[in-house]
Symmetry: C2
Subunit: 308 residues, 2 copies
C-alpha cells in the first residue's frame, strides 16, 4: 500500500506535503486549475470578459499561468520583454514564442533596448546599480505600458507562493512598511497603472514545475545568470529549511500575512499614493518631474551615446 | 596591521561584524555595560532606586545580566527555579549559587515541584504536553509570583538579541497578532504582574558568551536536553544563515519591529487585557476561573498522587 491520488484513487505522480495529499497526472492538472480559478474568483482578480495580458518570461511560472488562464477560457495574450541578457534572453524568447505558437495565442514582444537604449547588463553598468534593481524598474514600467497601450486593464504575472513568501520574508526582515503595504496579490488599477494580479500565489514552485512537465510545456530551467547568489535566493533557502520540518509553514506565513497584517496597513498604502503626479515625458505616476524609468533611459542613453 | 580595538587602539579579542568594530577585553566589557545602561535608560526599564529581581538559569545570558546590573550599581537579587531536569538542573543550580556567592548577592531558590507537584519532565508527561510549553507556563507564573511575594516591582530576564529575533521570526511566520503585540522588551506592570524587562536585547549570544569568558564567569554551556531540535533552534539557524551574509540583519529585524510594527499593535494588546480577572485560588490574572498554572498543578498532582 502506498499513497493514492486524493481525487481518483489511482497511483499518484506528485505528493503535496502541505496539503497532505497526492495526485495522479490528470487530477494534478485539475487541482492546479481549481487553485487558480478559486484565487482569481475569491480575490476578484478579473471577470470572465476582461482581457488579460500575461507577463511571459519563458520560465515555468509565467508559461503555467498563461496556460491555465487559456484553459479556463479567459482571453489571455502574452507580453515578452527582451532583456538583452545574452544567450539567456535568446533562449527565453524561444520558449515564449514556441508556447504561443503551440497554443495559437498572441505574443507581444518588447525589447527593453528600444526605450532604455541598451539591455539590462549594459544599463546596470551605466547606472552603477545592481542588475536586479534596474531590471525590476524596467519590467514594472514596460509591462504596465504594454498593457495600457494595447487596451488591457489587467496585467497578470507568474509570481508563485515561494516567490511571494521570500519577498515577504525580505520585507519583514527590514520592516519597510510601504513595501509590506504594497505586497498584495491584487494591486487595483489607479491613474496610470493597469490592475496587477498574481494568480499563482497558492501554488509552490515545485508544483508549477510539475504542472509544466505533466502538460508537456517546455520552459527555460536555468535561473537568470545575473541573479545568482542574490538575497531573494537566500531567503528562499532559509524558508525551505523550515518548510522541510514543518510542511505548510510557507503557505501559512504568506496567506496569514494577507489576512492578519495587510488590513492594518491600509493607511500606509494610502499615504503612498498621496504625492503622485504624472511624469512630464511619459505620463507615468511619479513623485518627481521625470519618473524613475525616464531618468534611467536618459542616463543610459547619455552614457552609451557614441557621439558623447 | 590587523584590526584594532575601536576604543583604545590595542589588539582586539572580539570582532562584532554588525557594528563593524572590534574590542580589547576591557573595552568590550565597557561596551557591554554601555549597551545595557542605554537600553535600561532609553526604554525606561527601571530607575536607580528600584529593586530588580533577575531570573537566573545558570546560563551565560542570565548571569551576564545580573553581573552587569550589579556593576552598574543597581540593587539586583537573583531567583533560581529548580526545574527538576535531572543532572542538567543540578549543574545549573550550582552555577547560579557559585556566582551569587562570588558576588555576595542574594539568590532566592524556588523548586517547581513545591507548587506543581513534580519537576518539568514528569509534569509534561502527566499533561501530555511538550516540555517547553509546560516549562514556559511554570516559569512565567513562578517568576512573577517570586517577584511580587518578595516585594520586587521589576523582573529582569536574560533574553538576548538572538532569542528575541528567533521568537519574532516564529511569531511572524504564523502572524499571531496577540503574540506579536506582547513581544516587547518592557512589559509594564499590571494588576497581578510585575514589570518584566529584557536588558540584553541589544546584545547577541556570541557577545554574552564572550562577556562571561572575559569576566571569568562560569556558566552552564550545554543547552537544556528537553529543548533539543525544537523550532526555536531552527529559527535561530535560519536567521544565522542570513546574518552570515548580511551582518546586522538580525538586529535590524528586531529593532525595526519595535519601531515600525509594535506601535501599530497597541489595540491588540489592549483587547487582550480586557477580559482578565483574578484566579480564584492564586489571584493571578486569568480569563477563566482557575489560571492555567493552577490547572496545571491540579492535573499534575492528581496524576502523580500515589493514593489515586
Amino acid at each position: 500500500m502506498g499513497m493514492r491520488c486524493k481525487r481518483c484513487g489511482e497511483p499518484p505522480v506528485i505528493e503535496i506535503r502541505r496539503h497532505r495529499a497526492a495526485f495522479c497526472a490528470g487530477c494534478f492538472v485539475h487541482h492546479c486549475h481549481e487553485q487558480v480559478r478559486r484565487t482569481v474568483d475569491k480575490l476578484r482578480m478579473f471577470g470572465p470578459d476582461e482581457r488579460v495580458l500575461v507577463a511571459v518570461s519563458g520560465g515555468k511560472d509565467s508559461l503555467m499561468v498563461w496556460d491555465v488562464l487559456l484553459d479556463l477560457g479567459y482571453h489571455a495574450e502574452g507580453v515578452y520583454l527582451g532583456l538583452g541578457i545574452g544567450e539567456y534572453s535568446d533562449e527565453s524568447g524561444a520558449y515564449a514564442r514556441d508556447f504561443a505558437e503551440k497554443r495559437g495565442a498572441a505574443l507581444h514582444e518588447v525589447p527593453v533596448s528600444d526605450t532604455v537604449g541598451a539591455g539590462i547588463p549594459v544599463a546596470a553598468k551605466a547606472m552603477k546599480r545592481p542588475p536586479c534593481s534596474v531590471c525590476g524598474l524596467s519590467k514594472r514600467h514596460l509591462l504596465n505600458r504594454a498593457a495600457l497601450e494595447r487596451g488591457f486593464g489587467v496585467l497578470a504575472t507568474g509570481h508563485n507562493l515561494d516567490d511571494e513568501a521570500a519577498v515577504l520574508f525580505g520585507n519583514v526582515l527590514t520592516w519597510k512598511m510601504d513595501y509590506l503595504a504594497r505586497q498584495r496579490p491584487v494591486l487595483p488599477a489607479t491613474d496610470g497603472f493597469a490592475r496587477r494580479v498574481k494568480p499563482l500565489v497558492r501554488l509552490g514552485e515545485r508544483e508549477t514545475a510539475a504542472y509544466c512537465i505533466v502538460r508537456g510545456i517546455d520552459y527555460q530551467v536555468e535561473e537568470c545568470p545575473m541573479a545568482a547568489g542574490n538575497r531573494h535566493l537566500r531567503y528562499k533557502e532559509a524558508l525551505n529549511s523550515i518548510e522541510e520540518h514543518s510542511p505548510g509553514t510557507k503557505a501559512h506565513f504568506y496567506l496569514q500575512f494577507l489576512e492578519q497584517l495587510l488590513p492594518r496597513l491600509d493607511d500606509v498604502a494610502e499615504d503612498d499614493k498621496a504625492d503622485l503626479r504624472e511624469c512630464v515625458r511619459c505620463g507615468s505616476p511619479t513623485t518627481g518631474e521625470l519618473c524613475a524609468f525616464c531618468r534611467l533611459s536618459d542616463r543610459v542613453s547619455a552614457s552609451t551615446d557614441p557621439a558623447a
